[in-house]
């Protein structure tokens, strides 16, 4: 049984298969409206999420399946002290597939070890968020048509930003990618990403602090939010939260065909005035996320494409 806990759980070919299926679904969603009839997705969300949970639920409903689950640890047995292992054993009896978000890193891996249904990691602490990566890859492929040859700026909280870690790991498998890592010194990528992912793979990358200097060379700008919930110290959060704000003025420095992505939610790191710029593609990402998750659910469930 296949799980999806880390973007690298799928080979490039397997990821291509998911993205190709997402293309087919996007071209004709009605064709896929009943492929998961009678199947149930459990959404086990131990921490609040709007976008990811709704995207999963919409994806399953679009495929004709049903959804059950909880949206915070308080409303689950975790509040009574139930372990992840016990919860997943129970859920395996109710559902055919599950998506788990958990504030503790590695919780979905623990679940997969005891599960008899496919487990999708819907975000585990500051660690991984592979379905956001799937969405990001799908968005880049749809809007740029390729991955190779791109210069990608990742900006903001690169230390705790799990979407950034997952995206880097997924993109280094393509040729001729350049990363520009834009962050304050305190929020740079963790050492394991720098040393064992980027350096070990001879990946071209540079670490800079100025967004303005990086902007002209980027094909893709991936903005992230400084996440309050990742800091143990409120003072540190307040000091870092306004490090980078993308506004109309800064967008003038960017290429005319650069695209701006963001895993959302944003706070103030992208000024609302940028939303009308045709290069702002973060709401298209939301739309693409549903197609990518539909394709992933179908593949993990082993559901055949309709004739």
């Amino acid at each position: 049984m296949k799980h999806f806990l880390n973007p690298l759980d799928f080979s490039v070919e397997e990821l291509d298969e998911v993205l190709d299926l997402a293309d087919e679904i996007r071209a004709n969603p009605k064709r896929f409206a009943k492929v998961c009839e009678g199947k149930k997705l459990a959404t086990l969300f131990y921490e609040p999420s709007t976008r990811t949970r709704l995207s999963f639920e919409a994806a399953m409903m679009n495929l004709g399946g049903n959804v059950l689950g909880f949206s915070s640890a308080d409303s689950s047995s975790a509040a009574k002290g139930e372990s992840v292992s016990d919860t997943i054993r129970m859920v395996s009896c109710y559902a055919d597939i599950c998506a788990m978000r958990h504030p503790k890193e590695g919780a979905p891996l623990v679940a997969s070890m005891k599960s008899s249904i496919p487990v999708i990691n819907a975000g585990d602490g500051g660690h991984q968020h592979p379905t956001q990566t799937l969405t990001d890859l799908y968005t880049i492929r749809c809007l740029k048509g390729k991955f190779s040859g791109m210069t990608i700026g990742l900006c903001g909280d690169l230390k705790f930003g799990r979407t950034v870690h997952s995206l880097i790991e997924a993109l280094i498998r393509y040729e001729d990618i350049k990363f520009v890592l834009i962050s304050p010194e305190e929020l740079r990528v963790p050492s394991y990403i720098r040393d064992e992912v980027l350096k070990q793979n001879n990946q071209q990358f540079e670490e800079v602090e100025s967004l303005e200097e990086a902007l002209p060379k980027l094909d893709i700008l991936y903005m992230t939010r400084v996440q309050r919930e990742r800091f143990f110290n409120e003072d540190d959060y307040l000091r870092m939260k306004d490090s980078y704000i993308l506004d109309k003025e800064k967008m003038k420095l960017a290429k005319s065909d650069m695209i701006v992505l963001h895993p959302l939610p944003r706070v103030n790191e992208i000024s609302v005035e940028v939303d009308d710029d045709e290069r702002a593609c973060y709401f298209k990402q939301v739309e693409f996320s549903v197609y990518a998750r539909m394709a992933l659910i179908m593949i993990l469930l082993g559901v055949d494409k309709p004739c």
Binding site: S83, V84, P103, E105, G106, V110, E196, F232
Partner: protein
């Protein structure tokens, strides 16, 4: 050179860094063994100038080879039978260590679920880097 003649059946942990013999003795819980155990400190060595040696009058399965490899993979394990060295085992860095070291990342699932095994995988043999399989946190020695 020291001989192992006095040990008829058992194992000799050789090439222990001088001064580390006692810490290996403790880490391997050799104090729990009923058999004879001898620690030789600062023995002369051509290769290392000085080394520690531990002789144990028991079979190979009495020691945790993964743990030994994790502590110091340069240690050699000699298996003695009939007073002779019949096998020299080279200790490698274990690919995975279970419940030998603990993950200290407060964000790791192991920080709240006490019954979980603490499992680390070797991700960089050259630099001897082990990472928690759950959260990828590097173990700091």
């Amino acid at each position: 050179m020291l001989n192992v003649g006095s040990l008829k059946e058992g194992i000799v942990l050789d090439h222990i860094e001088a001064g580390k013999g006692m810490s290996i003795y403790s880490a391997l819980n050799l104090d729990k063994l009923e058999c004879s155990v001898a620690i030789i400190k600062n023995a002369r060595s051509n290769k290392m100038k000085k080394k520690d040696i531990i002789k144990i009058e028991a079979g190979i399965d009495t020691i945790n080879l993964s743990l030994l490899g994790f502590i110091d993979h340069n240690i050699t394990v000699n298996i003695i039978k009939g007073g002779e060295i019949v096998e020299k085992k080279e200790i490698l860095l274990p690919e995975q260590v279970t419940d030998i070291i603990k993950c200290k990342n407060p964000r790791c699932i192991t920080s709240i679920e006490q019954e979980l095994q603490h499992v680390f995988k070797l991700t960089n043999p050259e630099k001897k880097i082990y990472r928690c399989i759950y959260c990828d946190e590097q173990y700091k020695y």
